[in-house]
Symmetry: C2
Subunit: 295 residues, 2 copies
Amino acid sequence: MPKSLLFDRLLAIGVGLIGGSICLASKKQGLAGHVLGYSRRLETSHEALRLGLVDECVAGADDANLRNVDAVVLSIPVQQYQRVLTQFLPVLPPNCLIFDAGSTKSDVLEVLEALEPQFPGLSSRFVLAHPIAGGETHGPAAATATLFQDRSCVLCPLPQTNPAYLGKVERLWSALGARIRHMNAVDHDEMFGAVSHLPHLLAFAYVASVLNHPKGELFMKEGGAGYRDFTRIAASSPEMWADIFQNNSKALLATLGEFERTVGRVRQAIEQSDRKALEQVLVQAANYRSAWKPQ
Amino acid sequence: MPKSLLFDRLLAIGVGLIGGSICLASKKQGLAGHVLGYSRRLETSHEALRLGLVDECVAGADDANLRNVDAVVLSIPVQQYQRVLTQFLPVLPPNCLIFDAGSTKSDVLEVLEALEPQFPGLSSRFVLAHPIAGGETHGPAAATATLFQDRSCVLCPLPQTNPAYLGKVERLWSALGARIRHMNAVDHDEMFGAVSHLPHLLAFAYVASVLNHPKGELFMKEGGAGYRDFTRIAASSPEMWADIFQNNSKALLATLGEFERTVGRVRQAIEQSDRKALEQVLVQAANYRSAWKPQ
């Protein structure tokens, strides 16, 4: 067996852009011996099979093939975790490794805590992961073996996380070309709430608010490069982002509150022609952003 | 004299990126016979002369060379219009054409109304113009003859605007390669308030608000492509944008109010887990922005 083999039988629950890319890349890298794919929609798992993302389809939790799976990757909306895990865990081996690819983490912790009594030790073999990849496209057809190349993958190990399992998930993501970052779930959600979820919320809200103006569409037709870049993320999937906003509501609403307070200061400075207070905000932002460089 | 000559002696008040580019392009196109340049800072006009943007420098309103100027272009902050016009108009020929390049227009109308009693007919020979160009760079050294090529130039003619003067300004901007749009001053300020000034205000406020978080800088270091594009305009000149926000405060605060109401709806939808209300805003924005194309 190849030196790099990490899992004999990997089950992918969710075989869209993220799950399908993990499967494809794992097969190409020889990290997984045999890859099983499950999707709530049968056509989706069959498409993944046709595209060669997985070796075999699993129809449901009753499938006998699940008994000797040694690793599971969850690439489905976080709100489905509890239902799906409750379905599959009784059939899966009690020691099998599980990791996910969800965009939020505190809510996953809550699911693990809720399931722990029914499935003791679950949170020690569940590795919380968030690969920073994907975007406009979705579905198995969008999956590629290089999706995670040079992207970040945040891992949120728990005190009780099995170090051997954590090591395997780290080796997987490294082999897929990702830069691994460790972070606790709260910092993770605060960080992505601030630098990803809030900009999306504001871009969606901005475009929607201009559309409320009787001449809004006419106005936006004239939008230049600034408008174009500022609103690009407002074209993202509403379903996916509605999920993320709800899953990360606590951290998102906190950072939104700070934003609203800052906008209030800017509004007041303009209303009161307080040039000093106005420039204070603008200079603080411009100084930081001019020096900012992407990682 | 070349067929395309529009002005024998053009005076540029303000010779930075915009004013300097108008001078340079007018000289190259043979639109102006002789170009005089004035700047509040003598070094700036001398730099414009050294760079060949202008043929001659004017030290101040007392300069005898002003007596036979037949056109003036104002490329200075709008708040300086009233002071500068009050200085120069007594010396300039009473029939000389004046046009500007300011980013806001209703406030220019107020200046014209205020000066009309002292300088009768001023608003008939003053053509309000706004070339949509420029951005990060500034100063005479940033001026180019092609700055306005394929960019829009909005003109806001008044009922009393002298049609011959309007025609000359239109021919100038067409010769500089700009697409000319006519609009009234109120629509102009509402439009740019909505599609340019508000995005800048929100981008500045967003970056400043994240910086208020103890870990804000750490968080933004992790910003991806979405963060990068959403915040690009937050690196713009604070001085210039503080001017614009104050000059266009009425229209800007109105569109900001609509934005704040929309954000309030999104916040409430998240707080109340009202999925339908949340998706309504996101879908409206995503549908519009996915179909949007730059002009």
